[in-house]
């Protein structure tokens, strides 16, 4: 049985919503009733059916519409996709990873046939049927990273590893939580994380870097991050902040349920075989407050997390203007009962 792809938008009329099945598989990121930074990295292994971990590269009902939104962003601002000259090989590695994962996990939607370097790729949801020579950039309509990530949900950072550090030397970033690839490209791990409050002094980045530089091929890892977004807008870039920033002032007690979204990033980390680069897909999942509270446990827990979040984190995540309104709205779903441990909806 294939995926029932939705036709929807992430801008203008914002017709995005989750089906009941998609709500149940939402990757709720809080395993307890409070949140603070941690090096919350774990092995990225296949998980139970009907979760976002069922396959290592998740394709869901928003796939086609997210790819249409990405194409619109890139047409408007090509600087969202950049690759420094030494990163082309890593781009081919990434193309191989995504094509093989998709074709194995979703054979009804994707197929890859390889005869030496002669590859044949079929992407049925997007109507793509291309033959190309692996390693020969002239046989694809875009560079290898751009080509395959225009067909893959989530942002992708491709990190070169040298001098005991990781360098943000290539990427495609159209669904970001307020950071600029164009500004950060070429930076090392500490530099591009420099604006993050508190975590440096907690030693988070030193430990994370140590872990990431030791990731082995075939042993990917994952972690969650989260923020909130007003309206189901994927492109919350700093580039367009002067256009969408005003959304943050539009939250009222009446519209919280539809307008306010929890935005969860599932970040995974993969060693690439030829280039020894790391690829870091940042997959974004959105859920409306009305959808979230269909799980009583999630409603109680998210109320407590948001209410007790340290002010510095709320400020950094850009929640300050509407946090109180959302906390009050969520409080009607929190009877004070204890929540069970773990991520699931009960």
């Amino acid at each position: 049985m294939g995926i029932n792809f939705r036709k929807e938008t992430f801008r203008d009329d914002f017709s995005f919503r989750n089906s009941p099945e998609q709500i149940r598989r939402f990757p709720f990121p809080f395993h307890e009733d409070s949140y603070m930074y941690a090096v919350n990295i774990e092995p990225h292994t296949p998980g139970p059916k009907n979760t976002v971990f069922e396959h290592l590269i998740d394709v869901d009902e928003h796939y086609i519409s997210e790819m249409e939104d990405r194409a619109l962003v890139l047409a408007e601002d090509p600087l969202r996709c950049q690759s420094l000259p030494h990163m082309t090989l890593a781009g081919w590695d990434l193309l191989e990873l995504l094509m093989t994962q998709k074709a194995e996990s979703y054979p009804e939607h994707f197929s890859l046939t390889r005869d030496g370097d002669n590859w044949h790729w079929i992407n049925r949801p997007l109507g793509i049927d291309d033959r190309f020579t692996f390693g020969d950039v002239s046989t694809l309509p875009y560079g290898p990273m751009a080509y395959i990530t225009r067909q893959s949900q989530g942002d992708f950072c491709v990190l070169d590893q040298r001098d005991g550090n990781l360098w943000m030397d290539a990427g495609i970033v159209t669904t970001q939580a307020d950071w600029s690839l164009d500004f950060d490209i070429g930076m090392n791990f500490f530099e591009w994380h420099a604006p993050v409050p508190l975590a440096h002094d907690m030693g988070i980045f030193n430990r994370a870097l140590k872990f990431l530089t030791n990731i082995q091929q075939g042993q990917p890892a994952r972690r969650f991050n989260w923020t909130m977004t007003i309206n189901p807008r994927l492109d919350t870039s700093p580039e367009n902040y002067h256009k969408w920033g005003v959304d943050r002032t539009t939250v009222t007690p009446e519209n919280v349920g539809q307008k306010v979204h929890l935005r969860v990033e599932l970040q995974t980390f993969w060693r690439l075989p030829r280039s020894n680069a790391l690829v870091f897909p940042i997959r974004c999942y959105l859920i409306k407050m009305d959808e979230l509270v269909t799980s009583p446990k999630w409603a109680r827990r998210f109320h407590r997390v948001l209410r007790d979040l340290p002010n510095e984190l709320a400020e950094y995540k850009g929640l300050t203007r509407y946090r109180q309104t959302v906390v009050e709205w969520l409080s009607q779903y929190d009877d004070g009962a204890p929540t069970s441990s773990g991520f699931g909806p009960d």
Partner: protein, 199 residues
């Protein structure tokens, strides 16, 4: 001295003579004083094969004769950093192995010369830097990508698109610029008073 801020921002040191024969100095304004201070501790003949590029900016003729008296093999005086950059790039592109680079003066000068050196393949950690004088910043507008030079106020109006920008401490060596982000995006009626804080 610049206060310690965040990890993307370069840390500057104090110029010190490096082993080797070929030395390239690039300085603006008060940066000349850093070269002169370093020269007090250099061995005999240190400047015999040196190349000094100097943009006096608002220091006028204050330092020019003193720098010339170091008797470098080549001395260049430029009217602005922008005017000096093509010459710098050509110098770096044709440099011999073992060239030692010293940058002194404003953050804008150090940043742009560092950018040119990185593009020519020099390792930034091998380059001597010393900050002197103005704290004025080069700022890239994250929205229109235009760079506004010599920013001394917080916030500042982008000289390209006109948005009112918060000047962040987040710094890109590749762009040799700090990041500017619209300060009143969430409420365009807010218009914070500009204060002169990067002098």
């Amino acid at each position: 001295m610049t206060a310690k801020t965040i990890l993307s921002r370069p840390v500057y040191g104090t110029l010190s003579p490096q082993p080797g024969r070929n030395h390239l100095f690039v300085a603006d304004a008060e940066g000349a004083a850093a070269i002169l201070d370093m020269a007090k501790a250099t061995p005999e003949g240190f400047f015999a094969d040196a190349h000094i590029m100097f943009v006096p900016d608002d220091t006028g003729t204050n330092y020019v004769e003193a720098v010339k008296s170091l008797q470098p093999a080549r001395f260049y005086q430029g009217p602005t950093i922008a005017a000096a950059l093509p010459r710098l790039r050509q110098t770096l592109a044709t440099a011999h192995m073992g060239l030692r680079i010293y940058l002194a003066g404003s953050e804008g000068l150090i940043g742009q010369a560092m950018q040119a050196a990185m593009e020519a393949g020099f390792d930034p950690s091998s380059i001597q830097t010393e900050h002197r004088g103005s704290l004025a910043r080069r700022v890239q507008c994250v929205h229109c990508k235009g760079i506004t030079e010599n920013v001394t106020t917080q916030p500042v109006t982008c000289s390209h698109c006109g948005l009112l920008l918060l000047v962040r401490d987040h710094y890109s060596r590749r762009l040799a610029a700090f990041q500017g982000v619209c300060i009143n995006a969430e409420d365009p009626t807010e218009s914070p008073q500009a204060e002169e804080i990067f002098r």
